[in-house]
């Protein structure tokens, strides 16, 4: 596969992520923040997000499976997750978190558990998608090309 094709594939893939609502404008801004001084900015932030999220999801699962759920704590976790996901532009995770928080406020354990499942699912999805994206980027870099971001998106 030549570099040009890969770049096109990358662009298409990115667009599909936007179209399917996995990502929003914030991710674009992240990409714009990546420059020579910060060559791995996006990857760095996203992996921070992955680490954080996995920890938070673990905590949430634990917190919700206990007797007498501490909704304050759950809410704080979800708030964190919402903040992180909105920072990297993981829109669907963020939306799931918003719904989650509403149920936290209602102290509805069942709904919270359902939401947790949904958040987990969204998280896995976006994680896979982003990993695929980064995989593509690595391939492009490995093939000696450059990621199209800087070239065509800097408006």
């Amino acid at each position: 596969m030549d570099v040009g094709q890969m770049q096109r594939q990358w662009i298409d893939y990115t667009k599909s992520l936007f179209l399917e609502g996995f990502l929003d404008g914030q991710f674009l801004q992240l990409q714009q923040l990546q420059d020579e001084n910060n060559p791995d900015f996006v990857v760095e932030v996203v992996s921070l997000f992955f680490e954080d999220s996995e920890r938070l999801l673990k905590d949430l699962t634990f917190a919700l499976n206990q007797n007498g759920v501490d909704f304050k704590k759950v809410d704080a976790h979800v708030h964190q997750l919402k903040g992180s996901s909105s920072s990297i532009g993981a829109q669907r995770v963020k939306n799931a978190c918003i719904a989650f928080r509403n149920f936290c406020e209602e102290q509805n354990t069942d709904a919270c558990l359902r939401c947790l499942q949904q958040v987990k699912q969204e998280y896995c999805l976006v994680k896979n998608k982003l990993e695929t994206l980064f995989g593509l980027e690595q391939q492009i870099v490995a093939a000696g090309g450059s990621i199209p971001t800087e070239l065509s998106f800097s408006g």
Binding site: F18, D24, G25, Q26, L28, Q29, L30, Q32, L33, D35, N37, N38, F41, E44, V45, L48, F49, E51, D52, A76, H79, Q80, K82, G83, S84, S86, S87, I88, G89, Q91, I98, N102, E105, E106, S152, F153, S154, G155
Partner: protein, 1044 residues
């Protein structure tokens, strides 16, 4: 084309909002999302409130009917009592009347009776005197009859009197012989032999049948006789049927003694001395009848007289035993007829039963009825109160609910707007991406249109958000010093493109009396003016738009001026200018709705200012006030507002008529926002509009003034810089339209250029002196500004001659620069102008001080740059970079990802970023002294949130400042920098975390998270002075982008 798209978008949004509003699920969801807590609170409050507010009546409503019943019963009881009492009174009175009547009768009867008795007594004495003590007897039957008949009037009660002699058996024969008849019994039979006899010897004629009858033969008479002679007093028989008449009667018997008795005779002496008996029969019936006949009221009462000697058997003497009458009320009176042995009594009764006591009955009944009505009225009133209070509580609940719904609506709007912004950012981002790719020109056009629409939509959403905030009462104005003139310039620059395109005159004039710097909310002021000017530009196709600002008091003087004009005669109204169709002395010559802006008035305003030629003196006077009220009017010559729609013009989402919105697009939200903002600024907004002529919107607003000495801050630097390079220059403004010329002069004045107005080129030439010799009082002008209209007017030849003239004298004088002022200019015109000797630069209207300055710099060679603010449109990123480059910034956020992103973004702008993961760490890092230039703080953090951290940092700084003051108080160096680290809140939630809450705990502002460049720039702009490289026009350019 773009307008119709905008409208499409607007409709789409409206549809969505409508569907959301009508979908209960959506609303419910929203309630659950945001307001659950609030709702329950409101309900709880509602309950508590209404419970506490029930009045006494309300609380005891169930008792009302019972009270009414009780009341009725009570009143019935009272009514009955009244009746009883009155009735009892009547009865008592009746009884008393009866008693007195009865007593009176008894007494009279008794009196009459005793009179008769006395008389009989006298008769007895007469008989004893003349019959026994005198011999021979002086009385015989004839005399007796004669006498008694003649004295009968003395004894009206006695039917007759007779005298019976006592005859013992032994004397019977002699007696019988002497009188010549035998003693007979009552049955008129010869008497049997008895011990004693009492034959009647004398009798009154009425009772002559008694003669020779033995009184002792009758049982009762006998008893009477025996008793009478024993006691020596008058005695009575029990009543019996009298002989002769069938009336009831009693017989009275008196003893007649032969000899005088001892003073205290014994019974035997009496019996022995008895000579005979005088008797009289009382016809009681006729007696009483007569008596009663004499008395009043005999009809009303029944009288019975009884002999009650025998207790068990009362003998009736008078009246019928079984006569009808009122048996309930009886009165007894004792009768004493002088016989101690016999006892009599009189019993009186009323003839008729007591009549019903109508008065008492009516009184009681009326009383009852009246009080019943009163009770019912009270009951009705109580019921009414209960009902009204019920309604009131219901209304109150509904009101609370309505208010809650209103707040919910506003919050919902705010939230929805906020939520719409997020995907819109995505759309705009994508469009930005798309525009960066290689596109065909058609695609580029599509994409650009889409972006423009997106931006319009964002603007609309912002407007809705504003309105929602205002309605939710969450909008507060800031009070910062700002330069009102430069703000107006900015607004004008926003619309310059459009107005030029349409060929409109767009001008601003600010009265000299308006202070340079006022305290207020520049953003909101700009928003109002932008709204008004935007509307005007939208609806005006020809003519002008004129923004005028002056002190509200000035309006008064100009009003006076207006009145004067009218007094002078209306002929002044019509211009005597060679303006063709333009007959009005307005900015462009088109008629305006509000004539107050026409020259006639305007010159008064200016003259007024001219009078105080030294404007600074005046300003000082104005600035000594703490507050000024500015009057801003925006005049256009557009389509105007139909009269029918003028009333609802400030109602949100209402445009003048639906066809307008079809034609021009827009939501009509702008004016209502403007109205709210003006209200907040303590002013009023009003308008005068005439269809097809134009509208003039004017509003007043209160602004604070600022002390003169504190103005010397950087705010003024840009114009001050410019001023210095132009001060002292002189100019002539050639313009046929006085208002427009005044505007030009105003801008020149701001640059320190002294201007003179000439209404035609001829005049200007004469002002300058045709052959170089100067008109006294005016030195050589440096610049001549010529309005395009005046130049086009065909004075070319004249002008050239003059031009030539100048050239000839060129060595003596510096040739003044001639600059053309134009709204729009074609290439040919431009060439022509150049040929006529105008300089290369044409000042395009609308005039703005900064732009004029730039042009002048170019023309006069004092400036080096060639920037008309047209092709240089730097984006916010550049500015943010300029502001933030090299600054040391602390980012506080507990979320690693957020922290990294914020840091990345700020680093991207060239800032040096340090991170802290909690409020505490931040507090440690910010121990004084530190070298951070700013701090970005997340609000929601565990342990110590952003507000708390900020508060502590501010405390720390205050203490340090105090120490600083103490330490260096002696030096008194006011310029010594105080510690104040700019702290900006970072929040994803712009609605709930409101600006004022940030301010309250000492923050300087907020940026929304994730960062948007413009927002970031706006926030940091206040704290960091732009680097010197960012020159003035750049700043203006940037403002342009931010304006709503």
């Amino acid at each position: 084309m773009p307008q119709s798209r905008e409208k499409l978008l607007v409709m789409g949004l409206g549809l969505k909002m409508k569907s959301l509003r009508h979908d209960p699920k959506a609303l419910k969801l929203h309630e659950q999302a945001g307001n659950k807590g609030k709702y329950t609170f409101i309900q709880a409050h509602e309950q508590a409130g209404s419970k506490g507010k029930y009045t006494f009546i309300q609380a005891h409503r169930a008792w009302l009917p019972k009270f009414l019943m009780l009341w009725i019963l009570l009143m019935a009881l009272i009514g009955w009592c009244i009746y009883t009492k009155m009735d009892a009174d009547t009865k008592v009175r009746r009884k008393e009347v009866l008693r007195s009547l009865c007593d009176q009768r008894a007494r009279m009867l008794q009196d009459q009776f005793s009179v008769s008795v006395n008389h009989v007594h006298a008769l007895a004495i007469l008989v004893s005197t003349f019959h026994y003590y005198r011999t021979p007897s002086a009385i015989d039957q004839e005399t007796f009859a004669e006498y008694t008949a003649r004295t009968a009037f003395e004894r009206p009660l006695l039917s007759g009197v007779a005298y019976a002699q006592r005859v013992v058996n032994s004397e019977r024969e002699s007696f019988e012989k002497q009188h010549g008849w035998v003693i007979k019994t009552m049955e008129r039979k010869p008497s049997q032999v008895r011990d004693e006899y009492a034959p009647v010897i004398f009798a009154q004629e009425t009772v002559s049948y008694l003669e020779s009858l033995d009184m002792m033969s009758g049982e009762e008479d006998r008893e009477n006789i025996l008793r009478a002679r024993a006691t020596g007093k008058a005695v009575l028989t029990s009543p019996f049927k009298l002989l002769g008449s069938h009336h009831l009667g009693v017989v009275l018997t008196f003893p007649v003694y032969k000899s005088k008795l001892s003073p205290k005779p014994t019974m035997e002496e009496r019996i022995k001395a008895t000579a005979g008996y005088v008797g009289g029969s009382f016809d009681v019936e006729s007696l009483v009848e007569n008596l009663l006949g004499q008395l009043a009221g005999n009809q009303a009462i029944l009288v019975n007289v009884y002999d009650i000697t025998n207790f068990t058997d009362h003998l009736i003497m008078y009246g019928k035993q079984d006569e009808e009458g009122d048996m309930s009320l009886v009165h007894e009176s004792k009768l004493d007829f002088g016989d101690p042995y016999r006892k009599h009594k009189m019993i009186c009764r009323y003839h008729q039963k007591a009549p019903t006591n109508w008065i008492a009955l009516t009184t009681a009944f009326l009383f009852f009825v009246i009080l019943l009505l009163v009770g019912y009225i009270l009951y009705g009133a109580g019921n009414h109160i209960v009902r009204v209070e019920d309604d009131f509580h219901k209304m109150e609940k509904l009101k609370v609910r309505a208010e809650a719904a209103d707040i919910a609506k506003s919050e919902f709007l705010a939230t929805v707007s906020h939520e719409i912004r997020t995907p819109m950012n995505g759309i705009l981002g994508m469009l930005g991406l798309l525009l960066g790719t290689e596109l065909s020109s058609t695609q580029l056009d599509y994409a650009q249109t889409a972006q423009a629409c997106g931006k319009a939509l964002i603007a609309l959403i912002n407007a809705v958000l504003d309105l929602a905030k205002i309605e939710a009462g969450k909008l507060e104005l800031e009070t910062v010093p700002f330069d009102i003139r430069s703000i107006l310039d900015d607004v004008l620059s926003l619309f310059s493109e459009k107005s030029r395109h349409k060929g409109l005159e767009l001008a601003v004039f600010v009265s000299d009396k308006v202070p340079d710097i006022v305290m207020g909310d520049p953003g909101r002021f700009r928003q109002i003016v932008t709204n008004l000017v935007g509307n005007s530009v939208k609806f005006t196709e020809r003519g002008h738009i004129f923004v005028k600002v002056h002190l509200a008091e000035n309006r008064m003087s100009s009003m006076i001026g207006k009145i004067e004009t009218f007094l002078n005669g209306r002929s002044d109204e019509v211009m005597h200018m060679s303006g063709g169709g333009y007959n009005f002395k307005t900015l462009s010559g088109y008629e305006a709705a509000d004539e107050r802006n026409s020259w006639d008035n305007f010159k008064h305003l200016i003259a007024d200012e001219e009078f105080f030629f030294d404007a600074s003196v005046k300003k000082v006077a104005i600035e000594s006030y703490e507050q000024v009220t500015l009057m801003v009017s925006v005049e256009d010559t557009g389509t105007g507002i139909p009269f029918s729609a003028q009333e609802k013009i400030f109602v949100p989402f209402v445009q003048a008529d639906s066809s307008t919105s079809r034609h021009y697009g827009g939501t009509g939200i702008g004016l209502s926002i403007s109205k709210c903002l003006v209200d907040l600024m303590g002013g009023e907004i009003s308008f005068i509009s005439r269809p097809q002529i134009g509208s003039t919107f004017s509003f007043t607003a209160d602004f604070g003034t600022i002390k003169k000495n504190s103005i010397t801050d950087m705010k003024k630097h840009n114009l001050e810089d410019l001023r210095s390079s132009f001060t002292g220059l002189k100019a002539i403004v050639v313009d046929g339209k006085p208002v427009r010329a005044a505007v030009t002069r105003y801008h020149l004045k701001r640059l320190g250029i002294q201007g003179k107005v000439a209404n035609s080129i001829n005049k200007a030439v004469s002002l300058c002196g045709k052959n170089g010799s100067l008109t006294p009082g005016l030195s050589q002008p440096d610049i001549i500004f010529v309005e395009k209209d005046s130049w086009i007017c065909g004075e070319d030849g004249m002008f050239s001659v003059w031009q030539l003239d100048w050239k000839q004298h060129g060595q003596l004088f510096k040739i003044p620069q001639m600059i053309l002022l134009a709204t729009n200019i074609s290439n040919t015109e431009f060439d022509k102008a150049k040929a006529a000797g105008f300089s290369d630069t044409v000042i395009m209207k609308p005039l703005r001080a900064s732009m004029v300055a730039a042009c002048l710099q170019q023309v006069l060679g004092t400036g080096k740059k060639r920037q008309l603010g047209k092709d240089m449109k730097p984006n916010g990123s550049t500015f943010a970079r300029i502001l933030l480059c090299g600054k040391k910034i602390l980012v506080v956020d507990d979320n690693r990802v957020n922290r990294r992103v914020a840091a990345g973004a700020l680093q991207n702008f060239g800032a040096h970023v340090t991170c802290a993961e909690s409020g505490k760490t931040a507090l440690e890092m910010l121990q004084l002294p530190h070298n951070f230039d700013a701090c970005f703080m997340d609000i929601q953090m565990p342990e110590m949130d952003g507000f708390e951290a900020t508060r502590r940092i501010r405390d720390m700084e205050r203490k340090a400042n105090e120490q600083l003051m103490k330490g260096e108080g002696g030096e008194g160096n006011g310029l010594k920098k105080e510690y104040h680290l700019p702290i900006l809140a970072m929040t994803a939630d712009v609605i709930h975390t409101t600006y004022e809450k940030c301010l309250k705990c000492g923050m300087d502002g907020y940026v929304s998270k994730p960062f948007e460049e413009e927002n970031l720039y706006q926030a940091v702009e206040k704290f960091f002075n732009p680097k010197p490289t960012s020159d003035n026009s750049l700043q203006n350019g940037n403002r342009t982008e931010q304006a709503p």
